[in-house]
Each structure stands twice: as C-alpha cells, then as structure tokens.
Amino acid sequence: MPPLTRWFIKTAMVYLAAALLVGLGLAARGLGYVPAWWTALSPVYFHLFMVGWVAQLIFGVVYWMFPKYSQAHPHGSERAWLAVYWCLNAGLLLRAVAEPMLTLWPVVGWRWGVAVSALLQWTAGLLFVVNTWSRVKER
C-alpha cells in the first residue's frame, strides 16, 4: 500500500472517530449534558462522515488500486494527488470550525473561513476527478 494511501486511510479513520463523537454529542443533547450551541455542528457531523471518512477512503483506495496511468507515472500527477490530500483536509477542517462559528458568531473573519473552506474542498474534488479520469480504462 503506497504511503499516500496510508495517509488517506488513516486520516479517514480519524474523521470517522471525530464524526461519531460529534454525533454522540448531537444525540446526547436531550440528556441535558450537551450545550445548546452543539446543534450548530449538525452539518459538520454529516460531512465529517461523508467527505472525511467515505470520500477520503475512496480517494486513498483509487490512488492505490485503479489501473496505472503509465509505467513511469502509475498514479498520474503525484503533485496533483498531494494537492488533493491537503486541500481536502485543510478545507474540511476549516469547515468544521468556521461553519459552526459562523452560525454562532457571524463576523466577517468566519465568513472568509467558510468561503475558503468551500474553495479548498471544491479544488480537491475537481483535482481528484481530473487525475482519476484517465485511469478509468481497461488495463
């Protein structure tokens, strides 16, 4: 398993744990131990799971298992793949902080945080698609 795949999969597992913890907090609101502001984490819970865990795990396995781009560059552009990893994770982490903060405290700094997180995740998604497209082939 190549190093970048290990990074993708291990990071994905951390997100899975984080998503389940946030979800635990959301579920425990009714018990009265969790502060009301925790509700602002609701979209974060979902996206930590679907982007941080599911999509990231898929990205790591695709990098590793899909047909080779070429003998010299089996994964396509390694730099683009590194950018996918960093943009996805920087973007998602920033979202996890900035989106609830914007709900609770709508100042311009958090607005920029949310906007930059959107741009980073979008860049990661598009770079993944471009870099994977030509590896979807017979062999």
């Binding site: 989106e99 607005r111 949310v114 598009l126 017979e138």
Partner: protein
C-alpha cells in the same frame, strides 16, 4: 476494468464534480449570500453525492472486482439495467424539487433508484461467493 465499470465510475466522477461544485456554491453562499434561489440546488447536491457518486462508484468497483465464474461475470444485463435506472433516478429525484415539478416525479426518481439497487443485487448476489465456487449456495 470492464466496460460497464468504466461507465459507472466515469458517471460517478461527473456526479462528484457537479455535486462538489454545488456544495461549494452553497457553502460560499452561507458565507457571502448571493441569492436565496441558490438553495434550490440543495436536493440535487444530496442526490448526486449520496447516490450518484458514492453508491455508483461502489457498484462500478463491485462489478469489476467481485469474484467471477471462471472468466465470466455472470449475467451482466441486470447490472447494465442498474446503471441506466440509477442515473435516471438520481437526476429525476435531484432535479424535480429544484424545478418545482409535480411530486410524482420525485417519487418516480426514488423508485428508479430502488429498482437500480434491486437490479444490481440480482447481478451481484451469485458473485458474492468464494473464488471458484459456483455461486449457487449462500
């Protein structure tokens, strides 16, 4: 990678690109509101990413790597049917609330998605077996 997997996976990649673009627009809109009409894209975001990307990619990879019967993948027809049903269902269910189409179209979209999963299961069920086995047992 067989032809049908290439179709499934390329369609999944297109859905990922469009779904992430909509997600990025919605998130950007939360930061700096552009126009309330943008929220109309929300159901399409969900449909494209949950079913059009995640589910479709899994079907494509499953069709490719599940155990085979010697060199054959068994009955491929239901898997092809799943491809067409899923894509029709995702776009119908995603676009109809956005375009305020009659609610029966949303239900039809969801039904097509359900039928796609059933068709894929008909194809894949016998392939979920030890390598070399006939696929008739459990």
């Amino acid at each position: 990678m067989p032809r049908l997997s290439r179709w499934f996976i390329r369609a999944a990649l297109v859905n990922l690109a469009v779904g992430f673009t909509i997600g990025g627009l919605l998130l950007g809109h939360k930061a700096f509101p552009v126009h309330p009409l943008l929220w109309r894209l929300f159901p399409l975001h969900i449909e494209l990413l949950l079913f059009g990307w995640t589910l479709q990619l899994i079907m494509g990879v499953g069709f490719w790597i599940f155990p085979r019967f010697w060199r054959s993948r068994g009955n491929e027809r239901p898997a092809w049917l799943a491809f067409f049903l899923l894509n029709a269902g995702v776009w119908l269910a995603g676009l109809s609330p956005m375009l305020s189409l009659p609610p029966v179209l949303l239900t039809t979209g969801r039904l097509l998605e359900l039928a796609a999963v059933a068709a894929f299961a008909v194809h894949a069920w016998p392939r979920i077996k030890p390598p070399g086995a006939s696929g008739r047992g459990f």
